[in-house]
């Protein structure tokens, strides 16, 4: 029953190929999730999740609050171990964006982006600033940005990681309609370049490339919650 959890593709070799954004199509892009069960606070919330995300496509995760969208995204990103099942993806192809943007209040917008670009060995800070309409704000410290502007900066970070598979947790929170459209445009461009995105959102991004997956079907049965350990004890 309990399968091993692994990101199967060898990442040592694929790393160099993923370095440059223009080379995205040459990279091993795509994500397959097989029979994944994931837990939050020791309680299994989702079980038997199966999904496939090929290059150039987006998948929108739907489901009521608390169904486990964030848990699923964190598990796929490799930030928490799965209870069972597999995630097949090149770990060097994944990047993750959530409510916490990883922005430093004391650094300017440009400095924040430049840091993440450097960590991923990438350039493209200017392009990312332009893409999310932040060029005018680039020298402003992040603490003086509005919530929506910070959010845009957080999304611009995705571009400078140079990674093809985006795992997005409610990316449009605190964005106005114009910014949502702007982000949808960026996302469309990313997909057109051969990227992919797994998105938990309640907002309609009007993406033709996006399929919808309702997680309600994978809600863990009350019998199997608690993970293997609590089974042994209860």
């Amino acid at each position: 029953m309990g399968g091993s959890v692994s990101h199967d593709l060898p990442h040592r070799h694929s790393r160099s190929r993923c370095r440059c954004r223009s080379g995205i199509s040459g990279c091993v892009v795509g994500l397959t999730v097989i029979d994944l069960a994931c837990a939050r606070g020791g309680v299994t919330v989702l079980a038997g999740v199966r999904l496939t995300l090929p290059a150039g496509r987006a998948l929108v995760l739907r489901g009521p609050n608390g169904i486990g969208k964030t848990t699923l995204l964190r598990t796929v990103a490799g930030l928490q171990p799965a209870v069972s099942g597999r995630v097949q993806a090149d770990p060097e192809s994944l990047t993750y964006a959530a409510h916490a943007d990883g922005l430093k209040a004391a650094l300017t917008a440009r400095e924040n982006l430049a840091f993440w670009a450097a960590v991923h060995g990438q350039g493209g800070v200017d392009a990312a600033l332009t893409a999310l309409n932040l060029t005018a704000l680039q020298d402003r410290p992040a603490q003086h940005l509005s919530a929506g502007q910070k959010r845009r900066l957080g999304l611009a970070r995705l571009l400078v990681t140079g990674r093809p598979v985006w795992l997005l947790d409610e990316p449009t929170v605190s964005l106005d309609a114009a910014s949502v459209a702007l982000f949808a445009e960026v996302l469309r461009g990313h997909l057109a370049q051969g990227g992919a995105a797994l998105i938990a959102t309640h907002v309609d991004l009007a993406l033709d490339e996006a399929a919808v997956l309702d997680l309600t079907a994978f809600r863990a049965q009350s019998r199997s919650h608690g993970g293997a350990f609590d089974e042994a004890f209860a």
């Binding site: 309990g2 959890v5 692994s6 490799g78 799965a82 293997a228 042994a232 004890f233 209860a234």
Partner: protein, 257 residues
């Protein structure tokens, strides 16, 4: 780097199921059968060794009757150190095999080991007062035990502070391993430091060398008693921890249903 770390975790998860389903229950059954015997035997050993040691051995020609505190002091000190070693072993088993009872046994041993350390320190002070003329001396051994107390306190506090039981088990295990290394380092550092202060540890008694046969045999019985007492208490407390975990998971199930 990061992902290669995750592979063995998955392997642990899959290898775990067999241990897990059987073991907490089997542990409780086995320990329930063993506990009365262990408790009785340790009481017998402690009573025999204590009475023999306190009433049927001669007074030491230099130390008088105060020497007899050795029957509490030495076994408690041994168990204080062995308790930490047991925690180290069970922590390693938890990290490698993900065997939950092992983690809970380490948790259970913490307060018992701390109590042993306190007994060793207090009896040491009671012994030291008439012998050395002071309740406390910064003697290498005493200092080492004081530091060991701090290690136990930190370990217990970390268990208490982390809510999620598996996270707590992981973090305390890592602390126990690192702490063991630093405890050994501290022991050597303290020797180094105290020689610098006192030009040789004149206050430290090397007990094993000084103890004559008349004292030695009852001491052995007392040590056996303390070992049995330690095992009894740890088994008892591990059982309590298992029941607490079971209660927790039943409550979680109730909330979910």
């Amino acid at each position: 780097m990061l992902r290669s770390e995750r592979e063995p975790k998955g392997a642990w998860l899959s290898g775990m199921s067999l241990w897990e389903y059987a073991n907490p229950r089997r542990f409780l059954q086995t320990s329930a059968r063993l506990l009365p015997w262990l408790a009785g035997l340790s009481a017998l050993c402690l009573a025999t060794g204590g009475i023999w040691g306190f009433f049927f051995t001669p007074d030491d020609f230099r130390q008088g009757s105060t020497v007899k505190i050795i029957y509490l002091h030495v076994p408690a000190a041994m168990m204080a150190v062995n308790g930490w070693i047991m925690m180290l072993v069970t922590s390693l088993i938890w990290l490698i095999r993900r065997h939950h009872v092992s983690a809970l046994a380490a948790k259970a041993a913490g307060p018992v080991g701390l109590t042993m350390t306190m007994i060793a320190l207090v009896t040491g002070a009671l012994w030291g007062q008439p012998m050395w003329g002071t309740w406390w001396a910064w003697d290498p051994r005493l200092t080492s035990f004081l530091i060991l107390t701090l290690f136990y306190l930190g370990y217990i506090a970390l268990w208490a502070a982390v809510e999620d039981p598996d996270t707590a088990a992981d973090l305390t295990s890592v602390l126990c391993i690192v702490g063991s290394v630093f405890a050994v380092l501290s022991r050597y550092a303290v020797n180094f430091w105290s020689q610098g202060l006192h030009q040789g540890a004149s206050l430290s008694l090397d007990k094993e060398k000084n103890v004559a046969d008349v004292f030695y045999l009852p001491l052995l019985v007392c040590i056996a008693g303390f070992v049995l007492l330690f095992v009894t208490l740890v088994l008892l407390r591990t059982g309590t921890e298992i029941r607490a975990r079971r209660l927790q998971s039943l409550l979680a199930r109730e909330r979910m249903a």
